[in-house]
């Protein structure tokens, strides 16, 4: 129903350029997550979409119609603000029902929709309280509730779960996804939390300093990061990066750093001699006494099902995830192997992925 298109969108505050020539299409009904470090312009982009911030350059269209100058009221978007922005003099019930009341819905209809939203959000017993008498997490849920009762074309969420505890957050992730599946509305969702991004998104848009670094499905970003920046941003624990060169190891290419040689897929033969950074995800390695990645393990952290080993390889800290059964105490020398196709190669200068 509503595709959101950003065409060379720019935003500057005076001389400060916050967004630069941003191109993005959010297909109708998709759930897009904006991911990026603090200050990269996520909130600004959402506010421009809602019409709360002027668009300095480019064209924004919703549903095929250019909306650059359309009033926020007439854009038919719902937004959850980063700082909740609840109406402090109204009760939770009135807060959630406000948009419905504005839309001139009947009293009974408003009551029913508010009750439903409150039930989903576990807010039923707080309906008659004012925001001041709620905890941070409860306030955040009220802000969610206000958006949920809207039947908007586009939903904008600015870090709506940041103040919730882990359990409630997991519950809300599912609720938001279900809401999305039910309404099928186009959703743009900002978060810092990768798990949220990976679990909820149809597409992830990773931003840096006001531009898009990579856009794709969660698997795309995880399996084929287009740059070292993306590789380091996505995935916990963070990807290991080793700087070295591609060498010829008896006819087949290998990555070499210090005394370490790791076999590479044959395609990298064309890049022999190139200075590269090799990215290895902690979960892609396996304990193997004959493996090329060898070092003294300094810390072993149990994280539940797994154990994380911090290994000193070639003077650098290397993190590896292994099943809990393989736990050994610190000080042991460990060796790891990694499948060649799991290696990510980036140019040492530009940080760009070296495609095969």
């Amino acid at each position: 129903m509503a595709t959101v298109e950003y065409r060379r969108i720019g935003k500057s505050y005076g001389a400060v350029e916050v967004l630069k020539e941003l191109d993005l299409t959010v297909e109708d009904g998709t759930f897009v997550v904006l991911l990026g470090a603090s200050g990269c312009g996520k909130t600004t982009l959402l506010r421009m979409t809602a019409g709360l911030e002027t668009i300095s350059a480019g064209e924004l269209s919703i549903d095929g119609k250019v909306v650059n100058t359309v009033h926020p009221r007439d854009r038919d978007v719902a937004m959850v603000f980063q700082n909740y922005a609840l109406y402090p003099t109204m009760t939770v019930r009135e807060n959630i029902g406000f948009s419905l009341e504005v839309a001139k819905k009947s009293k009974a209809e408003v009551a029913e929709m508010v009750e439903n939203a409150a039930r989903v959000l576990n807010l039923t017993e707080y309906l008659d309280r004012k925001p001041a008498a709620l905890s941070g997490g409860q306030r955040q849920r009220v802000a969610m509730g206000r958006a949920m009762v809207r039947n908007a074309k586009v939903f904008l969420f600015d870090e709506p779960l940041s103040n919730l505890d882990a359990k409630l957050r997991a519950h809300m992730r599912v609720e938001i996804r279900q809401l999305h599946n039910r309404l099928g509305a186009t959703t743009i969702y900002v978060t810092h939390d990768q798990i949220e991004a990976m679990t909820m998104a149809d597409r992830i848009v990773l931003m840096k300093d006001g531009s898009i670094v990579q856009e794709g499905s969660p698997d795309d970003l995880y399996d084929r990061p287009n740059s070292l920046f993306v590789a380091e941003f996505i995935g916990t624990p963070q990807i290991n990066s080793l700087e070295g060169r591609i060498v010829d190891d008896g006819g087949s290419p290998a990555f070499e750093t210090g005394g370490i040689h790791v076999a590479l897929p044959a395609g990298y033969g064309a890049h022999t001699g190139r200075r590269v950074i090799c990215g290895i995800r902690p979960s892609d390695v396996t304990l193997d006494p004959d493996g090329p990645l060898r070092g003294t393990m300094s810390i072993a952290e149990k994280t539940g099902a797994d154990v994380q080993f911090y290994v000193d390889i070639d003077g650098r800290e290397f993190v590896a995830v292994a099943p809990r059964a393989s736990y050994v105490s610190a000080g042991t020398t460990l060796a790891f192997a990694v499948a060649p196709e799991k290696l990510h190669m980036f140019d040492a200068e530009t940080g760009r992925r070296i495609e095969l």
Binding site: R47, A50, G51, L52, P72, R73, R75, V77, A78, M79, F81, Q82, N83, Y84, A85, L86, Y87, P88, T89, M90, F98, S99, V102, A103, K130, P131, A132, A133, L134, G136, R139, R146, R150, N163
Partner: protein, 294 residues
């Protein structure tokens, strides 16, 4: 809060009462004068606690046997006699309340616009509003007199109400603007996205949040109008006069009618006191509490 020792609590209590006494005693003394006979007022040493109270002064000031002759608009007779100040008190009340209401209405609307809407020269506009108050009132009193004379506002309620509201506006606008500025813009924006119009946002969401600010500003405006002297003196003749101006008529060539003046002053405290009491319960802090993430 720290647990304080008994002695330090006692010191605080004593100091507190001393300060209260410092401010309350002159008021009390003024009241005793209002209830004293003429000659008793000048007794030396003054009788502060024990004197024979009488309501003679009040009877004199407000007409026979305490009837507030609101309907009658008799002129003040200098040099004593039957003053009939009831209508004058009524004048004060009407002017203070209506000019406060007018100033608050305009200031609230104007300052919301100044706080929220972006237009060219907004900052200059704010300083211009303030600059209108920098001129000493005497400088405008005479020109206003002639203007009022020409347009027929001289000696009318409307005239005095307008000028009092006008004098209060700059401060009221500035004060109200600071209250609006304290409300995070996201609250308006959130309602805007939810489809509400500016007017609805103002009425339903923002206005209830600045209730305390309105109350505080109203008290200031009321007190200004209640005590204002210069404009009432110059812009009214026989139609109306407020309490500060008629008080001055007790100072006559044959002496000052202290008892009458004190009686009128004491009576004039009551409406102001009631107004502030009514407004005060809205002076609550923290109306924006819980709205945004701190």
């Amino acid at each position: 809060m720290m647990v304080r020792s008994k002695s330090s609590r006692m010191v605080r209590t004593i100091v507190g009462w001393a300060v209260v006494a410092l401010f309350a005693f002159p008021l009390y003394y003024w009241m005793t004068v209002a209830f004293k006979e003429g000659n008793e007022i000048f007794n030396w040493p003054p009788k502060v606690w024990s004197f024979t109270p009488t309501i003679k002064n009040f009877e004199e000031v407000f007409g026979i046997s305490f009837g507030f002759g609101f309907g009658e608009q008799r002129e003040v007779l200098p040099g004593g006699g039957n003053f009939r100040m009831g209508p004058r008190l009524w004048d004060s009340i009407v002017i203070a309340i209506l000019s406060t209401a007018l100033a608050i209405t305009i200031a609230t609307l104007a300052s919301y616009a100044l706080s929220r809407m972006n237009f060219r020269g907004r900052h200059h506009f704010v300083s211009w509003v303030l600059s209108t108050r920098m001129m000493p009132p005497v400088a405008v009193a005479i020109p206003i007199f002639f203007i009022y004379k020409d347009i027929g506002l001289l000696d009318t309620y409307t005239g005095v109400i307008l000028i009092h509201a006008l004098m209060n506006l700059p401060l009221a606008v500035l004060l109200m603007k600071s209250f609006f500025d304290d409300i995070p813009g996201e609250i308006d924006e959130s309602a805007l996205v939810d489809g509400a119009s500016r007017w609805l946002i103002f009425r339903r969401i923002v206005l209830p949040m600045v209730k305390g600010g309105i109350a505080a500003t109203a008290v200031l405006c009321f007190i200004f109008s209640w005590t204002e002297f210069l404009f009432v003196l110059t812009l009214t003749q026989t139609g109306l006069k407020t309490v500060p101006v008629v008080s001055s008529t007790f100072v006559t060539s044959t002496g000052t009618a202290w008892g009458s003046m004190a009686a009128l002053g004491a009576a004039a405290m009551i409406p102001a006191f009631i107004f502030i009491l009514l407004v005060q319960k809205h002076l609550v802090r923290g109306l924006t509490l819980g709205s945004v993430k701190q």
